[in-house]
């Protein structure tokens, strides 16, 4: 009872100075939330990478004890340090789930979108700051649920990141925890998406017309629409699968399903294909959620470091919108081998071929933007330049998978894994690294070290290809992507099975190549070269704010008077003209 009296003398001062908890933990400032998202995303990317490195041991050296950590895993996962296939399945499912939903999306959308987009719009904050905070904490809860599921008696979910029914309906592992975690993550995305779109519509600075928006903002807006409209069907599907698991319903269970030699005692009448439709209706747009923010980051970095306007800005924006729209009607190209019929297949392969056109337009425009530029080869630019051919390989190897006839032999092979990882690993992840190096000065006020950055980029480029290119070769030889031992027991894998060791060694070397980044990241927070407001001589609005920017972002009124990429304007005294000159000049 005496406490309120006790606290009262300091009350007035605390009124203005926010407490540690309000300022850094339960903050409503979009920049703090963006950093929270980014750090969470980077941590989960690292964790998902570790899961994969453990998997790669069993692929390269099946049946041999895992070094260092093998004895720590316990007898139900790896007796004697030798990985059980069930544990491999867990690692595979959780690697996919964590990388997609807890690694790339929080970093690309939650992190960069939250931190950069309001600054680029010239807004003081997000439209709904408190919802923004709730959105992060929903993600956090989802992450905790997913992480904790590893410690359940039967382990984490192990039914693939796609959680296909009926396996996921009846599996004894942590699928229920996976579904609950996903519901948290979906809620987080939904709240974030509403916030992003409203902010972009309402809080643009005076003069920031739609065609003066930086390409990055466009990418975030389209991404937010995808999250808003594609995630609810997965939420519905998740609820139904949860009912299948806890209330014994049969949404995804057909009649007379035989499990372990006995007919399952369920009413039946459900459809396993229904789950796949609902899942891919989300998960195909989700691929664009992974790639569009990356394209946005690369566009910013390339325009800035080639000292040229983006080539074809308008066609890029229209392509982006078209891409977003089309991504809702291509989902069943993931289901060509389910026997859904040739009429459906024809429709979806046609839409799939059409959707490749806007992607190619954007990639071509980025390449042409380089032509004749005065390119600065700094670390963000190297990662952005690395993105272009890597994403190109990822995209072009996707074309055979989009044609139903070619997809049938390729679908269950490592070719699919190779294709997808070229899009998201050396593709999206390189773009995200470019973004980290590029916007780090705005977050901390200091630049990251260039030498360590290059030491991060070149080995990463080499080893990324070392991991993923052999997958294409294995896949074309027909090696199945679902085997815990890397296919060594199959004759046809014989000549290409040896590639598994090369891929695994590349993966571990890739981990070593991330050490310079980790050192650089933490070292530069305190000791990096001090950066002013605009260390890259950039045109967009975020660089007019102080570095680091205060609560409320700008110390001057922002009025935008020109387009986003006015570089090397003839007759100008410097090679860049900011979008919004300060109102005082």
């Amino acid at each position: 009872m005496a406490e309120p009296v006790h606290a009262s003398p300091a009350h007035d001062e605390h009124h203005h100075e926010q407490s540690f908890w309000r300022k850094y933990i339960f903050s409503t400032d979009h920049k703090v939330i963006g950093v929270q998202y980014s750090v969470t995303g980077l941590a989960f990317l690292f964790f998902g990478f570790v899961l994969m490195m453990v998997m790669r041991w069993n692929l390269a050296y099946p049946g041999e004890p895992i070094p260092f950590i093998g004895s720590l895993l316990g007898d139900n996962r790896a007796p004697g340090g030798i990985m059980l296939p069930d544990f491999y399945n867990e690692l595979g499912a959780m690697h996919g789930t964590i990388m997609v939903f807890l690694g790339v999306v929080p970093l690309a959308v939650g992190g960069f979108g939250n931190f950069v987009m309001p600054l680029q719009l010239g807004a003081p904050d997000m439209a709904f700051p408190r919802i923004n905070m709730i959105s992060y904490w929903c993600l956090f809860m989802g992450g905790v649920t997913m992480f904790a599921s590893f410690f359940l008696p039967n382990g984490a979910a192990g039914n693939g990141w796609t959680s296909y029914s009926p396996l996921a309906d009846i599996a004894l592992n942590g699928q229920t925890a996976w579904l609950i975690g996903m519901i948290f993550l979906i809620t987080s995305s939904l709240l974030g998406a509403i916030n992003f779109i409203t902010t972009a519509i309402q809080l643009r600075a005076p003069g920031m017309t739609w065609m003066r928006l930086p390409f990055f903002c466009w990418a975030q807006i389209v991404t937010a629409f995808l999250l808003l409209l594609a995630f609810p069907p997965l939420e519905a599907a998740g609820v139904l699968q949860l009912m299948d698991r806890v209330a014994n319903t049969s949404f995804f269970i057909p009649e007379g399903l035989v499990v372990g030699g006995e007919v399952l005692e369920r009413s039946g009448g459900g459809s396993p294909l229904l789950w796949q439709h609902l899942f891919w209706f989300l998960a195909h747009p989700e691929v664009y959620v992974l790639i569009l923010p990356a394209m946005g980051i690369v566009a910013e970095v390339i325009a800035n470091n080639s000292r040229k306007p983006l080539w074809g800005y308008r066609s890029m924006v229209y392509s982006l919108i078209f891409l977003g729209f089309m991504s809702f009607i291509v989902w069943a190209h993931h289901m060509f081998i389910t026997g859904m019929g040739s009429v459906m297949s024809t429709f979806f392969q046609t839409t799939t071929m059409i959707i490749s056109i806007p992607s190619v337009i954007i990639l071509s425009a980025l390449f042409i933007s380089l032509w004749g530029g005065s390119i600065r080869y700094n670390t963000p630019m190297l990662f952005a330049l690395g993105f272009l051919p890597m994403f190109g390989i990822g995209g072009l190897t996707g074309l055979p998978l989009g044609l139903s006839a070619a997809d049938i032999p390729l679908h269950d092979t490592y070719y699919v894994i190779g294709h997808f990882h070229y899009v998201v690993a050396p593709g999206t992840l390189f773009a995200l690294f470019a973004g980290v190096y590029y916007w780090f000065p705005k977050v901390t006020g200091r630049k990251m070290n260039e030498f360590l950055g290059k030491l991060h980029f070149w080995p990463s480029l080499v080893f990324m290809n070392g991991v993923f290119f052999p997958m294409m070769i294995q896949g074309l030889n027909g090696v199945s992507r679902r085997l815990a031992d890397g296919g060594i027991t199959y004759d046809f894998a014989g000549e290409v099975a040896g590639l598994n060791r090369m891929m695994s060694v590349s993966a571990w070397c890739l981990a070593v190549a991330q050490i310079p980044f980790i050192i650089n990241f933490f070292m530069s927070i305190r000791n990096g070269e001090k950066a002013g407001r605009n260390p890259w001589n950039s045109t967009t609005v975020e660089w007019l704010a102080p570095s680091p920017a205060p609560h409320g972002n700008f110390d001057q009124p922002i009025e935008v008077v020109r387009g986003p990429y006015e570089y090397s304007v003839p007759g100008s005294d410097k090679d860049y003209v900011p979008q919004a000159e300060p109102a005082s000049t």
């Binding site: 519509i201 369920r266 009413s267």
Partner: protein, 199 residues
């Protein structure tokens, strides 16, 4: 620091932030229930003609559901009346209609409770058939939305209404937004009722 356009309308869009936010939320809700209706269609098409038999076996109570439909439509009316009273600056009438809206939601849930328990007494559970499974899934999710809408309305009618004296426009806007949500929940029921009980 103030976020612009939380109360006043943006000069170009003519809307405030909350209005855009709630409409975006409703589009995602359309996708959520849309996916469930799609599930309904897939299950019905895949039932090999057993659907009518499953529906007959479930013995849904059409008179009670009709009454519930009337209750929900009435609550949409009182919702609009509550908002209109605020627009006219009549706090007392706003509170009357606000509590009537919440009360109608309560009546709906009570009737729903009797419907559910009658099903359970006859051993009709979600696991009994795909018809009952999708029935409980969709009406259950709808009931959760009703509870959410009731909580939202109860807050603004009860403790939240103090803002009336300091920022009337803010309160009016928030009630309008909760009304949009309430009408949406009502609309979902208008689809659920014929789909499960009548067709």
């Amino acid at each position: 620091m103030e976020i612009p356009y939380t109360v006043e309308a943006h000069p170009e869009t003519g809307l405030n932030n909350g209005k855009i936010g709630i409409w975006l939320f409703l589009t995602s809700e359309v996708m959520l229930f849309g996916a469930l209706f799609a599930t309904f269609i897939m299950l019905r098409l895949g039932s090999d003609g057993n659907w009518a038999a499953m529906q007959a076996e479930a013995e849904l109570n059409i008179p009670l559901a009709t009454l519930n439909t009337a209750v929900l439509i009435a609550s949409s009316l009182t919702m609009v009346m509550a908002w209109a009273s605020l627009m006219r600056g009549q706090l007392g009438r706003f509170k009357l209609f606000g509590w009537l809206t919440v009360g109608c939601g309560g009546i709906f849930l009570v009737i729903k409770y009797f419907e559910y328990t009658a099903k359970f007494e006859h051993h009709h559970y979600p696991e009994s058939s795909t018809f009952l499974a999708i029935y409980f899934a969709m009406t259950g999710l709808h009931a959760l939305h009703v509870i959410g809408g009731m909580a939202w309305n109860a807050y603004f009618t009860g403790p939240g209404s103090k803002v009336f004296h300091t920022n009337r426009q803010w309160l009016t806007d928030r009630v309008e937004h909760s009304g949009l949500f309430w009408h949406f929940v009502d609309l979902v029921w208008i689809f659920l009722f014929p789909v499960f009980y009548l067709l």
